[in-house]
Every structure is written in structure tokens, then in C-alpha cells.
């Protein structure tokens, strides 16, 4: 038992070591917070980690499970936990505030106070403080719904031949209030998304998001839910309240899906952890073997995920920081005097990022250049995607090697890299650093 209680600490240690080893560059959110050195970046990251640990601690204090250690293992092993403390300090702050308020309001022991209080906090943070522009607001718009209904009537009336339906009957289903209700419900249903929560390692249905739980955990969730529903397990009220807050947090935010779903990490981990012990201790030999196999698979998934993120960081993570890191690290290692460093507006935050890497950022100029048309300016450094040098192509199709084309113009590729997904559609995935003397 003593050994199992050290597992969360070991996971946390492994996580920190891995983050130090992988050296993922800062995100724009961190840069905008004033991060201008590696030391500041790690200070912000450790503060974010602290906030998330505190938020997770608040939740752990509200639940009653025999082995709290399982809850901690599941939360700390989650890749999305890793993502948020590494890259999104404001998310960590939001989560800390929401869970903190939830924890402290619980002392009043009145459900309506807790629900109302936390609801106000989530709505204030997402809609007012962080100015999120969630899709649900558009779905609820009566004006938009009116337009949709008018469009439906118009195009249906053009259909010839069509099935005759009296206008009054059509109006029952086609009216702006019902359309707003339907659209908002459709938008809300995106919350109930097994694929993003459990199956992102497989990347199903063409949707890509950061892994929240490893796929074997879906079985743990199923078993936990079974216990909760069929055997009236503990923590039902806390789980339901947390799920409700997760839902409100999801529909009122507009970040990437896994960040919007972050709060589900807590209720789902509670469901899984709460009953794991019952199976491990109280189950038959066959059940114990099955559970051990499942735990091994989860452990295997955890290791594989680290390996996957190491091999394919550009697949899993935001590729803009990787792009900035590529050319700014080059400039740091190869200081040269250029009259100007031209960067296209697809890499619009180059000046902000520059402060993290270089001391002198005066030469940076954001300009959406097109060297297939523009004249090459002397003693300039051009940083851009292949489309900036050959002219954009909507099909993202470019020649594999353009060094000859550029040499004919008197410029030379100093370094290039491949960025996995398009940052700028029509400009390709090759990012080049090109010098003109």
C-alpha cells in the first residue's frame, strides 16, 4: 500500500522531467503574459502546475473514496493535465478559481448556493473576463434563427415537385424560437463526446484533439458507472455537480475541444477511481486478473503517449510555437546584421516571440511578402512559407525543391523545416529562412 501511494509522486516527477527534456517552446499566451526568458517560462509553468494541483486537491477534498490515490493517479497521468500546465496558464488559473470557489462554497452545504455561485464564476470568467465567444451564443441568437427559418421556407418553396405540407403545419417546426432551441441543443450535445474524451490516440472521425484519457480507461469508466448507477455508489451528487459545471464550462468557452473539456477530467476520474478498489480487493480471482490487465494497458497507454508526443510533437501540439522556435533559434545561433527581417503576417506574433529569443528585435518587419512578384530587397532576411516565395496556391501544391528558383533571384535558403499542418492555407508546409545579400 505504501508503494501505491508513491505512484502519483512518481507520475508527477516523470511528467516534470519529460517536460524539461522535451523543451516545448512557449505559447503565445505565455509570451503575452510577459514571459521573456527560459527562467520566466519555467516559473509560469510551475505556477500553472501548482494551480492545477491545488484545483485537483480541492476536488479530492469533496469526495469520499477509499483510495484517493487512484484519483490522483488518473488525474496526473492525463495528457491534457500535462498540456495545460505546460502551455495554458490562464486555463490553469480559471480551473483553480472555479474549483476553489466550488470547494469553499461547499462549506455552506446548500446545493443552490454552490450551484449558483460556481455558475456565476464560470460565466463571469468565460464571457466577461476572458471574453470567450462561444458558439452557443450564436446558436441562441433569435436573429440568426429567424434567418435560418426564412432560408428554409425560401428554398423549400423552390422545390418542384415537392410534398405539399400546409404552411401552418410547417410553422410548427419551422419557427425562430424552436430553431434557436434546436441549434443550442445541437451545440450542447458536442459535450457528450466519447471520442474526444477517450479515443484521441486513434484519432477517430477525422477530429483531432489532445488525449484526455487513454482508451483502456473507457472500460474503467464503464465499470465505475455501472457501480455508481446499479449499486448506488458514493459521490453521486458531487459527480453530477461537477459534470454540470464541466458542461457549462464547455459550452461557454471557445478554445480547442480538449481544453473546453478539461473539467470533465475530475468527475470522470472520480467515477473510475471510486470503484477500482472494490474490484481489486473484493473481486474474484478472474476479475482481479482482468483488472490487472486493464491497469497494465492504462500504464502502457501512458508510456506510449509520452513516446508519441516525443516523436510527433508537431502532430499533437500547436505548431505555431514550433514555427517561431525554428527561425528565432536559428537567428539566436547565427547572429547576423540584416537591414530587415521580413516575416509574413501568418506568423504575426514574431515580434512578441522575438523578445523571448533575442535582445534586438528592431529589424523585424511583418509583411505578407510574395517574392514571385515583389523585388528582393538587399541585405534582408526572409522568413516565410514556400508560398511566400513561389506565390500562394489554394491547393497547397508546391515544387519539392525551389532552391534553384531562389538562387536565380540571388537569394539562398539558409535553413528549412517541414511544419506538419498548414499554418497558412495556400502557403504550404515548408518554412524557409532565406537570405538576400
Amino acid at each position: 500500500m505504501a508503494m501505491i501511494s508513491t505512484v502519483p509522486l512518481l507520475i508527477l516527477l516523470a511528467e516534470v522531467i519529460w517536460q524539461i527534456f522535451i523543451k516545448y517552446p512557449p505559447t503565445l499566451e505565455q509570451i503575452n503574459l510577459g514571459v521573456s526568458s527560459a527562467a520566466a517560462l519555467w516559473v509560469v509553468r510551475f505556477i500553472s502546475l501548482g494551480l492545477l494541483l491545488a484545483a485537483s486537491f480541492f476536488v479530492s477534498r469533496l469526495i469520499s473514496i477509499k483510495k484517493g490515490v487512484y484519483y490522483w493517479i488518473l488525474v496526473l497521468a492525463s495528457p491534457v493535465f500535462s498540456l495545460v500546465w505546460m502551455s495554458y496558464p490562464l486555463d490553469a488559473l480559471k480551473i483553480f478559481i472555479v474549483m476553489g470557489i466550488f470547494y469553499f462554497l461547499n462549506r455552506y452545504r446548500k446545493t443552490w448556493i454552490v450551484v449558483t455561485g460556481v455558475l456565476i464564476v464560470i460565466l463571469t470568467l468565460n464571457l466577461s473576463v476572458f471574453k470567450q465567444n462561444p458558439k452557443i451564443l450564436e446558436a441562441l441568437s433569435i436573429k440568426k434563427s429567424q434567418e435560418e427559418v426564412t432560408l428554409r421556407f425560401n428554398i423549400e418553396d423552390k422545390l418542384n415537385p415537392s410534398i405539399e405540407i400546409p404552411i401552418q403545419v410547417r410553422r410548427i417546426g419551422y419557427n425562430k424560437y424552436f430553431a434557436a432551441f434546436r441549434n443550442s441543443l445541437n451545440e450542447s450535445l458536442n459535450f457528450f463526446d466519447f471520442e474526444t474524451v477517450f479515443f484521441e490516440e486513434i484519432h477517430p472521425l477525422g477530429q483531432k484533439a489532445f488525449v484526455i484519457f487513454f482508451w483502456p480507461e473507457v472500460f474503467l469508466f464503464g465499470l465505475g458507472l455501472w457501480f455508481l448507477l446499479a449499486k448506488q455508489g458514493k459521490n453521486g451528487e458531487v459527480i453530477l455537480t461537477l459534470l454540470f459545471f464541466s458542461f457549462i464550462y464547455f459550452i461557454t468557452s471557445s478554445a480547442s475541444t480538449e481544453r473546453r473539456l478539461f473539467l470533465t477530467l475530475y468527475p470522470l476520474s472520480i467515477i473510475m477511481a471510486g470503484y477500482l478498489d472494490s474490484f481489486l480487493v473484493g473481486g474474484s480471482k478472474k476479475i482481479k486478473i482482468g483488472m490487472t490487465l486493464l491497469i497494465f494497458l492504462i500504464f502502457y497507454g501512458w508510456m506510449t503517449n509520452y513516446y508519441d508526443r516525443y516523436v510527433r510533437p508537431d502532430y499533437w501540439l500547436d505548431n505555431r510555437p514550433i514555427a517561431y522556435n525554428f527561425f528565432l533559434s536559428y537567428l539566436k545561433d547565427n547572429p547576423g546584421k540584416y537591414d530587415q527581417i521580413l516575416v509574413p503576417d501568418t506568423l504575426y506574433a514574431a515580434k512578441e516571440y522575438c523578445r523571448f529569443y533575442l535582445d534586438d528585435c528592431d529589424a523585424f518587419k511583418i509583411k505578407n511578402f510574395d517574392l514571385s512578384k515583389d523585388t528582393v530587397e538587399k541585405n534582408s532576411l526572409y522568413v516565410g512559407f514556400i508560398g511566400n516565395f513561389t506565390g500562394p496556391n489554394p491547393a497547397n501544391s508546391f515544387p519539392p525543391d525551389i532552391s534553384n528558383i531562389l538562387e536565380n533571384k540571388g537569394i539562398k535558403i539558409l535553413k528549412k523545416t517541414h511544419i506538419l499542418n498548414n499554418i497558412a492555407n495556400g502557403y504550404g508546409q515548408e518554412l524557409l529562412i532565406v537570405g538576400a545579400k
Binding site: 428554409r152 428554398i155 423549400e156 423552390k158 422545390l159 418542384n160 415537385p161 415537392s162 410534398i163 405540407i165 403545419v169 410547417r170 410548427i172 417546426g173 419551422y174 424552436f178 432551441f181 434546436r182 441543443l185 445541437n186 450535445l189 458536442n190 459535450f191 457528450f192 463526446d193 466519447f194 471520442e195 477517450f198 479515443f199 490516440e201 486513434i202 477517430p204 472521425l205 477525422g206 482508451w215 483502456p216 473507457v218 472500460f219 458507472l225 455501472w226 448507477l229 446499479a230 474474484s284 478472474k286 494497458l297 502502457y300 497507454g301 508510456m303 506510449t304 513516446y307 508519441d308 516523436v311 510527433r312 502532430y315
Partner: protein, 559 residues
């Protein structure tokens, strides 16, 4: 008064059946706009069987239709024959079996829901009446889908399984409906044995400690009858080709080596210690199961590979938004009841059996292959509806209870109206296009009136296997097609994209060269420059307008 209490539920059931039939049969000629390739193939084979007793390849009374070398189970075509006899070959006659059996499935669903929920006929009828307007219930019954009729038979088999111990007639009923399901759609050939196995083994209630081989055999005796149901299929000449469809669609060949290629470091994929293929295969198979429990998928999604075809439900997933919400509530509130009762477990097993074929198919979420799971999903949604009503109705403040319950019912009813209007007309914009050929229904009558006046009919189309559309709408004599069967692709490979028949010849539209030829008709979907045709002596252009107001086809004649 007593009489009314007895008569009312029966009367309402009759009204329910009549309304269900009406919304499924009305306007089948107009909506969905045009038949799809598979519908055309089923229809033409039914026509061929009706006239000659042979399918389009000349096989007498087959159990599987070779069709596009996908060996469609033939039962649908046989069921369409009486309708073709009375109403001729058209969209309505080929879609009507699906519509009628869609209603039959609702009757079975009503009986099942009543039995499993223990509620009165009247209340069960109310629940099933609302379910009958779920988007998939409406849409799949208005298209000639073998999977829809198979689902109806599968639902029948579930009802007979629920009553299995009542007598011999119910036992026979199980196998009769199982056989019908097996002979109507590929997916049921796997789903039926899985269903029988799970229901009779009852693994949820199985006591692992006291498990003996003898007990298992005793429990599973009905499974021994299942192979008999497959015998006629196995004895058919081309029985080995039944696996064709499985080879075309299975998950194992499609995703191999399962692990993303960048993560493979050992030359032998199975020697990768990290990111092992088996880990990813496990994830894919598990994901296939859970995809059918995801409320988001059930409410909002249809397999994305079928966009702009009759397989699409316009602007919705299978259950629609209300169905999706009710499913969540139903799963949470009825879970315990379903697990603890034998009847409930049969519903769970029917869900698992229904998705079994989809689990081994390569698509992540493809409701057409797993339609047999949807009666169970509907039942969960039905429980959700009852639980929501019960919750609202039991509020202490009676005014609130009445108002909230009425509002809830109103929302579900309004959704039904919306789903119906959406299905009848608005869907035309989503069910036609890339995968749904347009212009055949409107253009073929003109082509038919012209074809004998010209030496050659050139067909230019980027839609593979569109010859079936011509045969269907032309009611082309099947004997002529049977005669050219020897020219068609050998079984085991995908069907040929084109087949020249009669004076129809497939070729690419090339007006600068073709205009010098004489006595031909061109059927083309290419952009035709009207001026070029006008200046060519003896050439005439007919543009074919579809109900959406588009011109998907041009017919050019040249003397």
C-alpha cells in the same frame, strides 16, 4: 366506460399504424428526390426476377444478388415483386417494402417497450409514437435499404426472444425472424448468432464461480439451430463469394499495421515494444463499440463518407437532438432496471449484437451497418422520455409540474413536426449531389423517346455503375442484360464502372472531335457550351432540370 378503456388503446394503436404508414409512404416518388445506385440495383433485380425469374446476371431465384459484385441479400428484391406487379417499377414500388417494414418494426418496438418497461399499452404507445418520428425512423423507411427491413426482422426476433419460454410458437418465431434478418442484410449474418449466443448464455448474470462446460452447453442449445438457417446460403453455387463483402469492409486489412507509421521503429511491426499494433487495434475495436453509445454521434452524426446521398439524414444524426438528450437520460435512469431484469438484459444483448458487425468493419461510426442496435437505443431514449416526464410531473408545486411536463411534451411533438418537414422537403438539398446521381429520373424518358432514332447513345459520366440508373428508369428488358452478363467483371472484385449495352456506349465527352460523327445522342454531365452545339449543323441540345432547379444533365442529339 369499461369498453372505452379497452377500445381506446386499440383504436389509438390503429391510428398510430395508419399515421406511421402515411408519413412513410406519402410522396416516395418525390422525396428523397431520386433513387441511389443500390436502390436502382435492388429495383432492377426485382424487376428482372419478376419478369424472368432470374437476376440481372441470369441466376435463377438467387439468395444473393451479385449486383455490383457486393452480393446483396436478395430478400428485399423478392419483397418488392408484388409491388412492382401492382404499381410497376418506380421509386414508390421499390421503396415501399422499406416503408411497410419500418412500420412493422415500430409495432414490434411497441410490444417490446411495453414488456420491458411494464407500462400500459397507452403509455407505451405514446412513447413509441414519439420515437417513430426520430429522424432515422423516418428517413431509413423512405429509402430502399436492405438494412432497414433486416432491422425490422431483427426487432421481431427480439420480441420473440423476450417471450421464448411461453411456447413453441415463440421459439419458432425467433428462428423464423432470425432467418428473415439473415436473408435481408449482411450485417445480420453476424448479429443474429451473436444475439442468440448472448441471450442464452446471459453473461451479465452468469456466475463465473459455478460455471461448468455442461451448463454452458445446456444454456446454448438454441445456438445449434442457427447454422441450419445458413444452410441454403452455403449451398448456393457462389457461397464462397459471400465473404466478398467482409473482405471489402473489414477493419483488419483497412487499418493494418494499426500504429501510426511515424511511431513504428522496428522493421517487424509486431516487435515494437512501445506503440504496439495490438494496443492501437484494441483502441480501434473498442472505439467502434463506444461510438454507438456516444450521444454526440447518435444525435448529430451520420457516416461522413455518404454525404450528398440518400444515406444521409438531412441536418441530423440518427436520433436528432431530442432523441440524443433522451438517450442520455434513459441510459442513466434505466441502467439498473435493464441490468437487473432478464428482459432488460435481452435489450442490452440486442444492442451488442447489433453493433458487432460494425465493430469489425473499418468505419468508425456507420449506422447503416449497425441498424440492428438502434431499436435498443430507441428503447433507452423511450426510458429517458418516461423518466423526464416522471421527474417533472412529481414536482411539489403542481402548477410547475403541469407547465413543465406540458412544455416538455410540446418540445418533443414540435421536434416530430420539424423532423417530418425536414425529411419531406428540406432534405432534398442534403440527399442529392456528389454521391447521388441527379437528372436520371427527369432525363431518361426523353432519352428513351429518342434512342431508337439514333445509331449510338454516348454516355459520359464520372459516376461509376450508373448504367443501373438507366436500366431502372428505362425499365430495360432484363433478358438483354442477362445476355451480356459474360462480359462483366468476375466476382470478387468491385463491379465495373461502365458496361456498354444495346446502343449505349460509355465515352468521355469530346465535342471538338465528336461533332464530326453522325447519328448519335450524348448524355453528359460535363459543362456543355451551348454556343458550340448551336453552331454544329444537325445538333440539338436539351438541358435537363432537376427539382432543385439545377441542370445536372445535358442531352445532345446529332443527325
Amino acid at each position: 366506460m369499461m369498453n372505452l378503456k379497452k377500445i381506446l388503446p386499440i383504436l389509438l394503436t390503429v391510428i398510430f399504424i395508419a399515421v406511421s404508414l402515411y408519413v412513410r409512404l406519402v410522396g416516395l416518388e418525390k422525396s428523397p428526390l431520386s433513387i441511389g445506385f443500390d436502390e436502382a440495383s435492388l429495383g432492377y433485380n426485382a424487376y428482372s426476377l419478376y419478369l424472368t425469374g432470374k437476376d440481372e446476371y441470369g441466376t435463377p431465384f438467387p439468395l444473393s444478388l451479385r449486383s455490383f459484385n457486393d452480393f446483396k441479400p436478395a430478400l428485399y428484391a423478392y419483397l418488392a415483386i408484388p409491388l412492382i406487379h401492382f404499381f410497376d417499377l418506380n421509386q414508390t414500388s421499390i421503396r415501399a417494402p422499406s416503408a411497410i417494414l419500418g412500420v412493422v418494426s415500430l409495432i414490434f418496438l411497441l410490444l417490446i417497450f411495453k414488456k420491458v418497461s411494464g407500462k400500459s399499452l397507452l403509455l407505451s404507445l405514446g412513447v413509441v409514437a414519439l420515437i417513430s418520428f426520430f429522424p432515422w425512423r423516418l428517413h431509413f423507411s423512405r429509402v430502399a435499404f436492405e438494412t432497414n427491413i433486416s432491422m425490422a426482422f431483427f426487432t421481431g426476433a427480439i420480441w420473440f426472444l423476450l417471450n421464448f419460454k411461453k411456447g413453441l410458437i415463440y421459439k419458432i418465431g425467433v428462428f423464423f425472424f432470425s432467418a428473415l434478418a439473415i436473408y435481408s442484410y449482411h450485417a445480420s449474418r453476424l448479429a443474429i448468432p451473436v444475439l442468440i449466443f448472448l441471450v442464452f448464455l446471459d453473461p451479465i448474470s452468469l456466475n463465473l464461480k459455478s460455471l461448468h462446460v455442461k451448463t454452458i452447453f445446456k444454456k446454448l442449445w438454441p445456438l445449434a439451430i442457427v447454422p441450419i438457417l445458413y444452410l441454403p446460403l452455403l449451398l448456393e453455387t457462389q457461397a464462397t463469394l459471400l465473404l466478398t463483402r467482409l473482405n471489402q469492409t473489414n477493419v483488419f486489412s483497412h487499418f493494418y499495421p494499426f500504429t501510426p507509421s511515424e511511431l513504428l521503429f522496428a522493421p517487424n511491426v509486431w516487435l515494437n515494444l512501445l506503440a504496439h499494433p495490438l494496443y492501437y487495434l484494441g483502441g480501434i475495436l473498442s472505439g467502434h463499440v463506444f461510438a454507438y453509445l456516444s450521444p454526440k454521434n447518435l444525435s448529430l452524426l451520420i457516416y461522413p463518407g455518404v454525404i450528398k446521398s440518400a444515406q444521409v439524414i438531412s441536418g441530423s444524426g440518427m436520433l436528432g437532438f431530442t432523441g440524443g438528450v433522451l438517450f442520455i437520460v434513459g441510459i442513466i435512469t434505466a441502467f439498473k432496471k435493464l441490468i437487473l431484469s432478464k428482459e432488460g438484459r435481452i435489450i442490452i444483448y440486442s444492442f451488442l449484437a447489433g453493433i458487432a458487425p460494425a465493430v469489425v468493419a473499418w468505419e468508425w461510426y456507420y449506422p447503416l451497418r449497425s441498424l440492428n442496435a438502434f431499436p435498443a437505443i430507441d428503447i433507452a431514449a423511450g426510458f429517458g422520455l418516461l423518466a423526464t416526464l416522471k421527474y417533472l410531473w412529481s414536482r411539489k408545486n403542481k402548477l410547475f409540474a403541469y407547465a413543465s411536463s406540458s412544455t416538455f411534451i410540446l418540445v418533443v411533438i414540435v421536434s416530430s413536426f420539424y423532423n417530418t418537414a425536414n425529411e419531406f422537403n428540406y432534405g432534398a438539398w442534403d440527399t442529392n449531389g456528389e454521391f447521388q446521381p441527379g437528372g436520371y429520373k427527369e432525363g431518361v424518358p426523353l432519352l428513351l423517346s429518342l434512342k431508337d432514332k439514333y445509331q449510338t447513345v454516348y454516355i459520359d459520366s464520372n459516376q461509376a455503375q450508373n448504367y443501373t440508373m438507366f436500366w431502372f428508369y428505362m425499365k430495360y428488358p432484363p433478358e438483354n442484360i442477362q445476355k451480356i452478363a459474360y462480359r462483366r467483371n468476375v466476382p470478387g472484385v468491385e463491379g465495373p464502372a461502365t458496361i456498354d449495352f444495346d446502343n449505349f456506349v460509355y465515352k468521355k465527352f469530346d465535342w471538338p472531335n465528336d461533332k464530326n460523327k453522325s447519328s448519335f445522342i450524348y448524355w453528359t454531365s460535363s459543362e456543355v457550351k451551348e454556343e458550340e452545339i448551336k453552331v454544329t449543323p444537325g445538333a440539338k441540345l436539351y438541358r435537363i432540370k432537376d427539382p432543385l432547379g439545377n441542370y445536372p444533365v445535358s442531352i445532345i442529339t446529332k443527325e
